[in-house]
Structures are given as C-alpha cells and as structure tokens.
C-alpha cells in the first residue's frame, strides 16, 4: 500500500514540487547556519538604527541592530520550523491517544470525550492560545510548543476516533481480542497503526498552522523572545516604524513563511490525493 501511495504521490507534479520545496527549506535551515559566515545575533554598532540594503557582504541586508538578515532568517527558520514540528508532534501524540481511547472503548466514555472535543472546537482556539500565553507569561520555546500543541489536537482526535470505530468490527481486531489481547495492547499495536493514514495529512498541515500561530503570538509580543530569532519576531521587528525604509526586513521573513506554508500545504494535499486515489 505504501509503495502504491508513493507512486501516486510522485506522479503528481504539484505534490512533488511541494515535497521538494519542503526538503529544500528544511535542509537550508538545518545546514544554512553552518554555511553562513555571519552570526544571527552579532550586533554591528556602526550601523545600528540604519538598516543596510542587501549587498555582497550582507546578501539580504541588515536589520535595525545591524544584524545580518540572512543569518537571522536561517536560524529563525530553524526555530519556527522546530516549533511547528514539535507542536505538531505533541498534538498528534495526544490527539491519537485520545481519539483511539474514545473510539476503542465507545459508550459513555466516548460520548463524554467527544463532547469535550466539540466544546474545544466551538470556539476560536487562537484566542484561547493568546489568553493562556498571556496569562502564563512564559515564553520559553518549550512552553510555546506545549500550549500550541495542547490546544490543537482535536482534529487529529476526531480523525483517529472515526478510523478506530470503523476498524473495531474488523476480523483482525476480533481475532486479537479472542486471543486475549488486553485493551492497552489492542489500542497500541492493532488499532493505532491502522488508523494513522489520515493523520499524516493533518500533521503536515498542522506544521504550517503552528508556524503561523507563532507569528501571531510574536506580533502581540507573546512569541519567541529576542535575541533568539524566529520568523515571527523578525516580522515583529520589521513592522516597527523605524524599519519603514527597509523592505528587505519585512519581505524576507514574510516570503519565507508564505513559501513554507505553501510547500507544506502542497505536500499535505498531494499525500491526501494519493491516499484517496489509492482507496478508490
């Protein structure tokens, strides 16, 4: 099944383009800081307050503190994508367990658990993220990841529950149960592995959503705190009135965010289409 899906995926140009773009972006933020001679946090006092336009020395110019924009974009990308990825992992692990337990046990437990999901789904979670982040007043990357992840798992939970419900009556589950497999092992070894296909698509898209959420938090001053660069706080800097004359400060992180989001969306869309075509 995997190889058929991979074949269908690679025969779609937009999906391939998305996959390649994601690879390039990840490779450049992982390897880039080793190749770029500038340090992302090195302040140049001579040009402080006077952002320099792109030049041979600073390929994407400098920011208000005279820091190299390219170096910050690369290391900031590392932080932003790492946040997007780990918050996605938190949401996927939690959502999968939650959905699998609800689906496997069914009955009143399932009803209560899914009402909680409905409740969390019926209000703007981003507002909730802002509230919790503002009240917590903790801006360590780990805390931001936890808050983003723990407030965005509901979609995964719904997907996994629906899959598990449809798997529950299947012969291999009956067989496992007849062999005396306990509920924990049944969920972990038999139900979850077979329910993961739709989760992959949701996970791909969640990475982008988390990157966007971090930029939103940064705009409110609730995201990754300087001097550590993230695409969100680079944008926040770039929108200061003093940066009016330095469009490279606004455009670099902005275009990178949009490009990354488009790449992940194309990738997710391609995987979805490949899975659907395989099922059809």
């Amino acid at each position: 099944m995997i190889s058929r899906i991979a074949f269908r995926f690679s025969s779609r140009r937009s999906a391939l383009a998305g996959g390649v773009a994601v690879l390039i972006i990840i490779l450049s933020v992982v390897l880039g800081p080793y190749l770029d001679p500038h340090s992302p946090n090195a302040i140049d006092h001579h040009i402080m307050g006077y952002p320099q336009a792109p030049s041979a020395e600073h390929l994407l110019g400098t920011d208000l503190l005279g820091r190299d924009v390219l170096a910050r974009a690369l290391s900031g990308g590392r932080v932003s994508i790492a946040i997007g990825f780990t918050a996605m992992l938190v949401a996927v692990v939690f959502g999968t367990l939650y959905g699998a337990i609800a689906g496997a046990f069914g009955g009143p437990l399932d009803a209560v658990m899914m009402r909680i999901v409905d409740a969390l789904f019926s209000f703007p979670t981003f507002f909730l993220i802002i509230t919790v982040e503002a009240l917590t007043n903790q801006f360590a990357v780990g805390i931001i990841v936890l808050i983003l992840g723990l407030l965005s798992w509901m979609g995964v939970a719904r997907l996994v529950r629906a899959e598990v419900l449809s798997l529950r009556g299947r012969d291999f589950v009956e067989a496992a149960r007849a062999l005396g497999v306990g509920p924990a092992r049944l969920i972990a070894r038999h139900l979850i592995p077979n329910a993961l296909a739709p989760v992959i698509v949701a996970a791909t898209l969640a990475i982008g959503d988390n990157i966007l959420a971090e930029t939103g938090l940064s705009y409110l001053g609730l995201g990754v705190q300087p001097p550590t660069a993230s695409w969100g706080n680079m944008l926040q800097d770039a929108l200061l009135p003093a940066a009016r004359e330095a469009p490279w400060m606004v455009l670099t992180p902005g275009i990178l965010i949009v490009a990354t989001l488009v790449a992940f969306a194309l990738l997710g869309d391609g995987i979805r289409a490949a899975i659907d075509a395989d099922a059809a």
Partner: protein, 319 residues
C-alpha cells in the same frame, strides 16, 4: 424540523457548560492571574486593604469556587459580572462591541463566498490545467500569509501611500451614525479577513465539484443528449454547492479568530479588540463573557448551516 432544532438547542447547553468550565479552568490554572497584577499595581494600598480588595473580587478562592460563583450569577441573576478594569457591567461593554464585529464578519463571509465559489468551480472544471495549478498555489499562499503582515501591507499601501481608506477605527470623529463612513473604515479589515479565508473555501468548493463530476447521473444526463452547459449548470452545480453550506458552520471559529486578530491590528473597536485588551489586563469577567458569546454565536451558526442544508437538500431529513 422543530424537534431537530429543539434537540440541538438542548444539546448546546451541556456544550456551553463544558466550554465555560474549560475556559475558566485555563484562566484559573495559569500562573500570573489578576491577583498578582493587582498586587503589583496597587503598591500604594496597605496590605490589609489589598487583601480586602482581592477578597471582594473573590480572587482569594480556588478557581472552581470562583467558577461556581460566576455560574450562579449567570444562571440566577442573568449577570455576567463586572469588569475588573472599570467596574462596568460586562454585558454593557460587550454589547457596544458586538455590532462592528458582526458587520465585519458578514461582509467578509459574503465576499469570500462570492469570490471563492466561482473560482473553485472553474478550477474543478479545468482540473489539472494551468488555471487549476495557479489557483491552488494562490489559495495556499493566501492561507499562508500571517494575517497581521497582510494587514500592515494593506495599511501601508492603501492608507499611508494612496490615502484611499482610513487605517484604523470604525468611524471618523463626528461621523458615528454614517453608514458610508463605517463602510470606508471596514474595507481594509474586511479585505484582510477575506484574503486569509479564501483558501479553504476555494479548495473545498473545488473538491465538492470534482466529486460531483465523477457521478453517474452526469453520464446519464449527457447520454440523453443534454448540452454540456445544461449538464454543468443544472445537474452538477446545484449538487456541488450543497456541501459548501456545511463549511459555513465549520469555518466560523476560524473566522472569529481571524476577525479578532484583525480588529486588534486595525484598532476596530469590536469583540476581538475588547477581548485581546481584556486578556492583557487580566480582566477575567470580560474574557469569560466574550468566550461564551463567541461560542454561542459559533453554535448558532452551525445550527443555521444545518437547517439551511436541510432546506436546500430534500434528501436530508431531520427527525
């Protein structure tokens, strides 16, 4: 139909109760609550007066006790409490801020549907052509734009450089009752909200149309000699528009999130502007009331979408 509506309204009560508990718990369990803020602000108060003040707001009790007080006041007195900031009744403050948000949301929703639905349909008809690829990428790009980035670019271009539209607020001074002036203020925020919501609608509409195009009844229609235009317009289109109605309900929480954020960027005095400022001021009663009101509006929107679905699709029976 009426039993369906009654059942849904009754079902909404435990849902709202659950939402209120979750929100209250999250605020109550977060460190750095209002008690700490007041303690820092009220340096001039004597410790006894400060303790008295905190006690009078009930902030010395555990969160679940505070929650029960809050719930009791709401159920038995219909009161959402008083703002910590200016001691005005919360309901009064919120009602002042509801109209702008509702106007903004409705305008953005109408604009989104009018733009996205035709694009989605054409993209499906021209599947795997350049048009399809370009709209896909443009749709994803509009979804990938940080909304405040887009807002600031809009402000820079249309308010600062061209001067066509105002950059902030919902009315010019002295023009409070003028609908045209209100509309001019809402153009940029509504544009921003529309652009970021387009993507999901275009993709959804395209998917729905692609599904319908594979249906056998279209083959039947073609084989009995109907023109292609008639097949598409009469047989495919109507069925492809149906599932989009459900998106109306599903997209509401996201729309509210977007609207709240945009209001903050454009200083539009709506629910989001009030809400985000209330969050920063630790004004729990206002935050709670806004959360509940948003949830009620979202649940109501979903109910309306389901009812509309039942009306336009005769195959759906609610009983």
């Amino acid at each position: 139909m009426s039993t369906f509506i009654a059942r849904r309204v009754l079902g909404a009560i435990p849902l709202l109760l659950l939402i209120s508990i979750i929100s209250y718990a999250m605020m109550g369990l977060s460190p750095g609550g209002p008690a700490a803020i007041f303690a820092a602000q009220a340096q001039r108060m004597s410790p006894i007066a400060r303790a008295e003040f905190i006690h009078s707001l009930g902030l010395d009790k555990p969160w679940y006790v505070q929650y029960l007080y809050w719930l009791g006041n709401l159920v038995f007195h219909g009161s959402l409490g008083y703002s910590y900031v200016d001691q005005r009744p919360v309901i009064e403050k919120i009602l002042e801020h509801v109209p702008v948000t509702v106007e903004m949301l409705s305008l953005a929703l109408v604009a989104t549907v009018l733009i996205a639905v035709p694009i989605g349909i054409v993209a499906a008809l021209k599947r795997d052509t350049a048009f399809d690829y370009v709209t896909t990428v443009v749709a994803f790009a509009s979804y990938g734009m940080p909304v405040f980035w887009l807002s600031i670019i809009l402000i820079d271009l249309f308010a600062v450089h061209l001067g066509w539209f105002p950059s902030a607020g919902a009315n010019s001074i002295g023009q409070e009752g003028n609908p045209l002036d209100r509309l001019r203020h809402l153009v940029l925020p509504v544009t921003a909200l529309t652009v970021v919501s387009l993507a999901s609608w275009i993709r959804y509409q395209r998917g729905a149309m692609v599904n319908v195009l594979g249906e056998l009844y279209l083959r039947t229609a073609r084989s009995k000699g109907l023109s292609e235009a008639r097949v598409i317009l009469h047989h495919a289109l109507r069925n492809a528009l149906l599932p989009t109605i459900t998106l109306l309900g599903l997209s509401l929480p996201g729309l509210f999130s977007g609207a709240y954020f945009i209001e903050y960027v454009f200083s539009v005095p709506g629910m989001g502007y009030l809400g985000i400022n209330a969050v920063f001021q630790r004004d729990y009663p206002t935050v709670m009331a806004l959360t509940m009101l948003t949830a009620v509006l979202v649940i109501l929107g979903n109910l309306l979408a389901d009812i509309a679905y039942g009306i336009v699709d005769p195959r759906i029976r609610y009983d």
